[in-house]
């Protein structure tokens, strides 16, 4: 993939101020129109000529798309900067999201990039996806036919593709409240800091003493879409946690993922590292569920 480092294609540009105007513009300009939020992914994709929109609709001036509030869990406006989400989640009950954002870029990217942008771009390696999947996030989309809400796990349909219609815009991400006795964590394996993940993993769990009462596991960069591993969740839920059970579960993780060979890693390497990463993340979340730090 050659990055020409310049934008060669011509396009029209709009910066509307309301969701209604965004939808109208998307409708008027059809398939060639793209929403731009921070642009940190989109502009590079355009430089690589992976994408050539005829029209960009900047949503950063739209009112009511940038907020973080506690309301039956956590509600985050889709155009909220990664910087703000990261700061909010630091030492919060959603620390896995802090860890994911910390790993996905550096200050200049956190200052420009948005959480909705990371999701709508739909990279298999989107680092905010695994934590949001284990927090059972729902996403709210608005389009010309009104509003709909769906689980994030039903949002991704393939590499860089989602259920978003050409005239739709993501407006909100809604995370479940974690509740008591909950712990969560995120880890990724990459070559250097802020690099794209080879494997990423998030775990959310609840414990009572030695028993895990609830468990959700998600991995990124090991399948066409960020994925939950429900077989493993079912294996762990309601069970007393022992080293041997977690070891067995990590073997299943390695069987369930569907990685590919690419420039960053071989599929075989990803399978093995997925198992280890899952194990480390699980124990981290497990310790955190009783107030442990690591």
């Amino acid at each position: 993939m050659i990055n020409t480092r310049i934008l060669t294609q011509e396009f029209d540009y709009f910066a509307p101020e309301s969701i209604k105007q965004v939808v109208e513009l998307l409708e008027r300009h059809g398939e060639g129109a793209r929403v731009i939020a921070g642009g940190t992914d989109l502009i590079n994709q355009m430089k690589e000529e992976k994408m050539s929109p005829s029209c960009l609709v900047n949503i950063m001036n739209v009112k009511g798309l940038r907020y973080i509030k506690e309301d039956e869990g956590l509600r985050i406006g889709a155009a909220t900067k990664l910087r703000d989400v990261r700061a909010y989640c630091f030492k919060s009950r959603y620390v896995a999201l802090y860890e994911a954002i910390s790993s996905l870029g550096k200050p200049q990217v956190w200052n420009m990039g948005t959480i909705g942008g990371n999701l709508c771009n739909a990279s298999p390696a989107a680092d905010t996806a695994p934590p949001l999947l284990v927090f059972k996030a729902r996403v709210k989309l608005v389009g010309k036919d009104g509003e709909r809400e769906l689980l994030l796990e039903d949002f991704f349909t393939g590499v860089n593709s989602t259920v978003l219609q050409p005239t739709e815009l993501m407006v909100e991400i809604h995370l479940d409240p974690p509740g008591d006795g909950a712990g969560n964590a995120f880890l990724k394996v990459a070559r250097v800091g802020a690099d794209i993940s080879k494997v990423s993993c998030a775990v959310f769990l609840k414990r009572q003493g030695r028993t895990c009462t609830e468990c959700r596991v998600a991995l990124g960069a090991v399948a066409p879409v960020p994925m939950r591993v429900k077989v493993v969740e079912e294996m762990i839920e309601g069970r007393e946690i022992e080293e041997s059970l977690v070891a067995k579960a990590s073997e299943i993780v390695s069987e369930e993922v569907k990685p590919i060979d690419d420039i960053r890693s071989s599929a075989e390497y990803r399978r093995q590292v997925a198992a280890v990463t899952f194990r480390d993340v699980f124990w981290k979340a497990w310790d955190r569920a009783i107030g442990g730090k690591n």
């Binding site: 502009i43 200050p107 990217v109 200052n111």
Partner: protein
Amino acid sequence: MATYKLELKLNGEKLSAQVLAHENLLSVMRNKLGAKEVKNGCNKGDCGACAVLLDGKAVNACLTLALQANGKEVTTVKGIGTEDQPHPLQESFVRHGAIQCGFCTPGMIVSSKALLDTIPNPDRRQIREGISGNLCRCTGYNKIVEAIEDAALKRKS
């Protein structure tokens, strides 16, 4: 081809220019607004040489469309301090030999200014995180980290 009017404040001065939608902030700064202190390194968001403050927050000008900066305030290294009145960070970089070839310096100063604006007394880990989006191939970073630490101390006293 449609052109758009771009209005922004560059280092405190109100400016406007006609730009095309696909021109990025980096090229408009260098080629239309005369701000050559903004450096073109990798032009894909990896090196931070083109970092500027956009409404006080460090961003990479190469990953920003010029129109995304419309109506905003852009600050470059020249807006942080001048030759006659350098910012404590700039003095500190010189004193500590935190500049070798100098190409990363405008971006480094911008990122460290943004850091000190949020965290006035950063520890070494926070300093390293603050400049983690800026690559320097000469200094090995130690002198830069020391310079920022020293500037923060000097500002406090």
